[in-house]
């Protein structure tokens, strides 16, 4: 666990270096995959994208494919590393929990001024749901992409049925990935979420923000305030007698 309070700087570590690397590797390679995936459609010439300075290659499908492969390599390594590093370590903070759906609605309503936010853990309930959704999208993109890649090199005559499944899964989840990316950007645009943006760049968020919004997380991280240890004399001293209960006069008021 990387979470650590830096009280003197009013910060708390939310993401370790490896988590930041994983996030940005997937995010940046994902953007390259989106762009080159779009350029694998015949849009470069039709939409005059080739006339945009620096995008003359957008109608060269082989160049786009090379970039797509390079990004897919980074994307896949990062995704697999993420699962097979954090999984065995038992880091399950991003996995959906019971009641997340209902709680997400409460949080989203509160973002627009309706009701109070419930106390939250390190990740918001909608973040956990979004993570599961994005993980599924990424998994489907990787599996279908691997089938298509294998076909490109070794099996151009691969079963057409298998190929059509891989192709349409890849195409549909490409659209879902794009929509998920837009939703991710929309979440960042919401003011209450701004303090978390700093975290994905530096790994740290403001401690006062975390205390206010992620109180359940802080309860796990902050050391428990133990009562001061008793002296021997205090231990041996007889307990003070409890005060006599005061009989309140119900007729006083």
């Amino acid at each position: 666990m990387t979470d650590k309070i830096l009280a003197e700087k009013n910060l708390i570590v939310r993401h370790g270096v490896l988590e930041l690397i994983e996030h940005w590797a997937i995010a940046l390679s994902g953007l390259v995959l989106l762009l080159t995936g779009i350029f694998e459609l015949p849009v470069g010439k039709r939409y005059y994208i080739i006339d945009v300075p620096g995008l003359g290659w957008s109608a060269d499908f082989i160049t786009s494919l090379s970039l797509h492969y390079a990004a897919a390599f980074v994307f896949t390594v990062a995704a697999m590393l993420h699962v097979f590093y954090h999984g065995p370590r038992g880091e399950k903070g991003l996995l959906p929990q019971k009641g997340d759906f209902a709680e997400s609605i409460t949080v989203i309503k509160s973002l627009f001024g309706f009701g109070e936010e419930p106390p939250m853990r390190k990740y918001l309930p909608e973040q956990r749901l979004a993570y599961a959704g994005m993980a599924f999208i990424i998994l489907m993109l990787i599996i279908s992409g691997l089938v298509k890649t294998y076909k490109n090199i070794y099996a151009p005559d691969l079963s057409h049925t298998v190929l059509l499944w891989a192709t349409w899964i890849h195409n549909i989840f490409f659209i879902l990935f794009f929509l998920a990316f837009l939703a991710h950007m929309a979440a960042i645009a919401l003011r209450p979420n701004w303090p978390m943006v700093r975290g994905i760049f530096t790994g740290k968020v403001r401690l006062d923000y975390a205390r206010h919004r992620h109180s359940l997380w802080l309860a796990d991280v902050e050391p428990v305030q133990e009562p001061p240890a008793l002296t021997v004399a205090e231990e041996q001293a007889p307990p003070e007698p409890e005060p006599e209960p005061v009989q309140e006069d119900s007729t006083k008021d």
């Binding site: 015949p42 492969y69 590393l81 590093y85 890649t149 151009p156 005559d157």
Partner: protein, 329 residues
């Protein structure tokens, strides 16, 4: 080397032998397998035999192909939706009789090459159509997998799922597929914004192959200049004929190898000099690299990526456990 008997006889016997071999190897398999649709096939075009059917208005192979495919393209939308923003429309529906180039209504044409060989004028006729490449970029790069290479080697466009983006034509070294706007599935989606018709080209008469018939061009050739058979058999014949005529082979290495082998008594460099690459009229350069081969190393890295990622994750986890144990100690 003595030419195998069945190959000396010609295409009909050749097919019989092929079918016979298929029958022997496919006892108990459905009829489709018997028809040889899963055996890798190749075609041979012997330029020493093709005379361009000079006595006919339209060469026999072209005529047969046109007849077989005359009803392939459905009724073209009237008017054809104008694509946006680039307003390219390719409509051959009113020029269906064109036979001297490739069009959506004409999948094969015959090029006439006048060549000077050692000071002598020689005329060679070159039937041109899809080469049915071994690893066809036109098929592998199709975003909807509408273009697919069959087990028998035929590269076939499914006109029901093709959007007519012409990507296949862009990546084909010979720019073979031809577009007909105003037909196809794009009309039912976003015709103004996405797609622009259907791409058409030779499909090696896959339906006829499934019915145990030769492709139309092969069957129609009066001089048996075109042959079809198993890959190995055709390669043997091509090598044998080229050796006998001290000639040349085209299609074996071009674009990484194809299922169409040309045999010629004159060098293909000379034939290519008579060709000017134009829409629907491919040239015949000898040096035709498979461009997608350049992406293969990266593609192999992608296939290895899951293993690398898993290994890195597990090693990282084990390493972090070691660190933790050390700290605890």
């Amino acid at each position: 080397m003595k030419e195998p008997k069945q190959l000396q006889i010609g295409r009909r016997s050749f097919l019989k032998i092929t079918a016979g071999a298929a029958a022997l190897s496919s006892v108990g398999l459905p009829k489709k397998a018997f028809a040889g649709t899963n055996k890798q096939l190749s075609t041979l075009i012997d330029l020493s035999l093709c005379d361009g059917c000079v006595d006919r208005k339209v060469p026999a192979c072209v005529s047969a192909c046109k007849t077989i495919n005359q009803n392939k393209i459905p009724q073209v939308a009237e008017p054809i939706p104008e694509p946006w923003p680039r307003k390219t429309v390719e409509d051959w529906s009113k020029k269906r009789d064109v036979f001297k180039r490739l069009t959506p209504y004409n999948f094969i044409y015959v090029h006439k090459a006048e060549i000077n060989v050692a000071g002598r004028k020689k005329t060679v006729f070159v039937p041109r159509r899809c080469m049915h490449c071994d690893n066809p970029a036109c098929a592998t790069i199709c975003p909807f997998s509408a273009n697919h290479k069959n087990k028998n080697g035929a590269v076939v466009i499914d006109q029901d799922s093709c959007f007519g983006g012409a990507k296949c034509r862009d990546v084909c070294p010979w720019e073979i597929p031809q577009r007909q706007s105003g037909v196809g599935i794009y009309l039912k989606v976003l015709p103004g914004l996405m797609g622009n018709g259907v791409m058409y080209k030779c499909d090696l008469c896959v339906e006829r192959l499934a019915a145990d018939k030769s492709p139309g061009c092969v069957e129609a050739c009066p001089r048996e200049a075109l042959l079809i058979g198993t890959r190995n058999a055709i390669e043997k014949v091509a090598a044998e004929r080229a050796g006998r005529m001290n000639g040349y082979i085209y299609g074996k290495k071009q674009n990484g190898g194809t299922a169409t082998l040309y045999v010629s008594p004159v060098p293909f460099e000379e034939i290519n000099k008579t060709m000017t690459k134009k829409p629907g009229q491919p040239d015949m350069k000898v040096d035709v690299p498979r461009r997608m081969a350049g992406t293969d190393p990266l593609a192999k890295a992608v296939l290895a990526a899951p293993v690398l990622g898993i290994a890195a994750g597990i090693l990282g986890w084990l390493s972090s456990r070691g660190d933790k144990t050390g700290k605890e100690e």
